[in-house]
């Protein structure tokens, strides 16, 4: 009961959004909507690893790739059912996540982690590109079909949208439960002080690994959903640029909470599409909007939720004070006046 109450807003939001999109019947929006949902799943993984455990992760899309390719290869080459590939892909992505976690355990600075995770993503890319016998190299895998269950054929965008929505909800609630109990607390303790966490008996190595495995397995799931959605996989789709976009989604939405991740994914998936009419200015505007969001909402867009307009205004103007160095300028002015 309490749970439902707490998430009331979010549930309402999702339902409204879903109905809107369904009613609109604009396949293009539904298409972008599916993309947003798939991103949301991957971004929730980033929230776990980077938001809770503060392990920077700039290689998430590689794990999406691992999931997508695993599922696609199993479906197209071995004829295995889509549903069966879900757990397999999650396990394989998780195993790779575990491998990635090993060299990161000793690293202290975020900068070093940034390198290792980003480079790991590139390693996966090179493998996908060159293991032609398995992945068909740069030409990729075509003809990945969504399944149908009874009368519902997920090849159509609308049903697929709801399938993805269902998975977003499952992942959200599962992760929410995980972070509410000791796992979440231990992840945060690693973020706050690794030494202190160890001093009370937390095996920080183990929990960092768990965080990586959860984050990457979730990305694997996102990858499985991505395959039939685009229908075609090529290595370029899983390089570091999309990884950076996923991290941007997490931060713009609010790295501190799963809800923030979802919000960020929705916003930043729709933004470049809404900006399509601006042609050459598109990516410039996109970048500027991300920077402005970071400047005014350091805790992400989610920090606007549940606040009254007056509070929002106060928050923004306080932030403007910091950004424009109001205090500093006032001081300077006064000092000058004195001289």
């Amino acid at each position: 009961m309490n749970g439902i109450k707490k998430h009331k807003k979010l549930i309402a939001l999702v339902v409204v959004l879903a109905i809107m999109i369904y009613l609109s019947f604009n396949s293009y929006f539904v298409f972008v909507g599916i993309n947003a949902l798939i991103n949301a799943i991957a971004v929730m993984g980033i929230v776990i690893i980077s938001g809770y455990a503060k392990q920077l992760h700039l290689g998430q899309s590689a794990f999406l790739g691992i999931g997508a390719y695993t599922s696609a290869i199993l479906m197209t080459k071995c004829g295995i059912s889509f549903w069966v590939t879900i757990p397999v892909a999650m396990v394989i992505a998780g195993v790779f996540g575990w491998i990635l976690s090993i060299p990161t355990l000793k690293l202290k600075g975020g900068s070093y982690l940034a390198l290792v995770t980003q480079t790991f993503g590139e390693i996966i890319y090179v493998l996908l590109l060159n293991m032609e016998w398995l992945t068909n190299g740069p030409f990729g895998i075509t003809g990945i079909k969504a399944p149908s269950v009874g009368p519902v054929n997920f090849v159509h965008l609308q049903p697929y949208f709801f399938l993805c929505l269902a998975f977003v909800c499952i992942v959200y609630f599962a992760l929410k439960r995980i972070v509410k109990v000791k796992f979440g607390r231990f992840f945060i303790s690693i973020r706050e002080s690794e030494e202190a966490a160890q001093s009370i008996g937390i095996n920080t190595r183990k929990y960092k690994m768990i965080a990586f495995v959860i984050a990457t397995a979730v990305a694997g799931l996102a990858g499985v959903l991505y395959g039939p959605f685009i229908g075609y996989l090529s290595p370029e789709q899983f390089r570091w640029q999309p990884s950076l976009i996923l991290v941007s989604m997490a931060i713009v939405g609010g790295l501190g909470s799963l809800e923030g991740g979802i919000v960020g994914a929705v916003i930043l998936t729709f933004l470049p599409e809404l900006l399509r009419s601006t042609d050459q200015l598109r990516m410039i505007l996109y970048g500027v909007i991300v920077i402005l969001t970071l400047a005014f909402l350091p805790d992400g867009v989610i920090s606007l939720f549940g606040k009254k307009p007056r509070e929002i205004k106060a928050m923004l103007s306080a932030q403007w004070g910091i950004l424009s160095d109001k205090a500093l300028r006032r001081k300077k002015k006064k000092a000058k006046a004195l001289k």
């Binding site: 293009y28 003809g143 685009i230 090529s234 598109r282």
Partner: protein
């Protein structure tokens, strides 16, 4: 495929990279498409209806390309689409056009797989890798007696597509192949070249876009290596001369179009293109111009915007007289049927005609 002609115009879509890595190719293509639409409208359009071009950027990303095509079809209600540039993007688009049954014609994706993936709605309006490579290999075996060829290619859809076709053509003639790849981020290919040089090859095929291609030529010459260069459409560009610091001179290319051709039809096109865009058309521009014209002629011939009819008309294109010469489309596969020239880059930033091959 519904609508598209309600508002009194015929809507067609264009997709290609306008930002990001291959944006120079994509921008050239878009200009070609724009000029073609302008020419076509000036000539009266279709039954008095004007053609309107809707262009979307795919930033060379497969997923963005699929998204752009979904938008063109659902939002802009286009009748047919010209694109994409990168083979990987076109492959992603195929899934979408297959679902919505919208014809597409690509002026830029040369990989064989684009047509062999089983999608019935795609056609190609320029010579693909297979045609280009067999023409080149034919040329070297008829003009000399090489034993072993070297290939340096970009490790992406374009380069690997070329490598596959080259290897197939070379092995058919009993030639050995030594190959090295480079990543698109690489700027210095001296290492790969040094290795190829040590393998005693008779000629070097450079299969990539012109920016890295020019660097390869320059760096090969810096190794005091006077091997004969061969290349495909990728490196044909006026800028290749300057970018390679002149090392391009002597290189033999397969190509469907050069702006220095003496054909009056081509000269007229070049002149008008230069007036409009301030630079000579690259072969990308010409290919896109032809693709657009073929599509628009097909719509006109079909007499309707019904997708199936338009698609049938595209596939039945016969002897269209374009910038690349006489073009037909294979009704079965959608493959380009026409000429490919073998030219040699010579001093004065121009090319000399050597030979030509044709599937006509």
């Amino acid at each position: 495929g519904c609508g598209g002609s309600d508002s009194g115009t015929i809507r067609i879509g264009a997709v290609g990279p306008l930002t990001g890595d291959s944006s120079n190719g994509g921008t050239d293509e878009l200009e070609g498409k724009q000029l073609a639409v302008e020419d076509f409208n000036a000539a009266g359009g279709i039954d008095g209806k004007k053609v309107e071009l809707f262009s979307e950027d795919d930033a060379s990303s497969a997923s963005q390309s699929a998204s752009a095509v979904t938008k063109l079809i659902n939002q802009d209600k286009v009748v047919a689409i010209i694109g994409a540039h990168n083979s990987a993007c076109t492959l992603a688009d195929l899934e979408v056009i297959n679902k919505y049954e919208i014809p597409m014609i690509t002026p830029g994706s040369s990989a064989e797989t684009v047509l062999t993936s089983g999608c019935k709605w795609i056609s190609r309006s320029f010579p693909g890798d297979g045609l280009q490579c067999s023409a080149l290999i034919n040329y070297i075996t008829t003009t000399g007696t090489p034993k072993k060829i070297g290939v340096i290619y970009s490790n992406d859809d374009f380069g690997q597509g070329g490598l596959k076709s080259l290897t197939a053509a070379a092995e058919a003639k009993g030639l050995e192949v030594a190959s090295e790849s480079f990543a698109n981020e690489d700027k210095d290919m001296t290492t790969q070249l040094s290795k190829l040089k040590s393998e005693n090859i008779d000629c070097l095929f450079i299969w990539c876009q012109y920016t890295p291609g020019a660097l390869i030529m320059k760096q090969a010459r810096a190794l005091d290596w006077d091997v004969q260069f061969y290349s495909g459409t990728g490196t044909i560009h006026e800028d290749t001369f300057s970018l390679s610091d002149g090392s391009y001179v002597g290189c033999i290319n397969s190509v469907p179009f050069t702006s220095t051709s003496t054909d009056p039809k081509v000269q007229d096109f070049v002149k008008r293109y230069e007036e409009k865009f301030g630079e000579a058309p690259s072969q990308n521009s010409a290919r896109a111009y032809d693709a657009t014209m073929i599509l628009l002629n097909a719509i006109k011939a079909a007499g309707t915007t019904d997708a199936a009819k338009v698609q049938e008309a595209i596939r039945n294109t016969k002897d269209y007289d374009g910038m690349q010469g006489n073009i037909s489309i294979d009704p079965e596969t959608g493959e380009y049927i026409g000429d490919v020239m073998i030219v040699q880059a010579v001093e004065g930033n121009t090319w000399e005609y050597l030979d030509s091959a044709s599937t006509n």
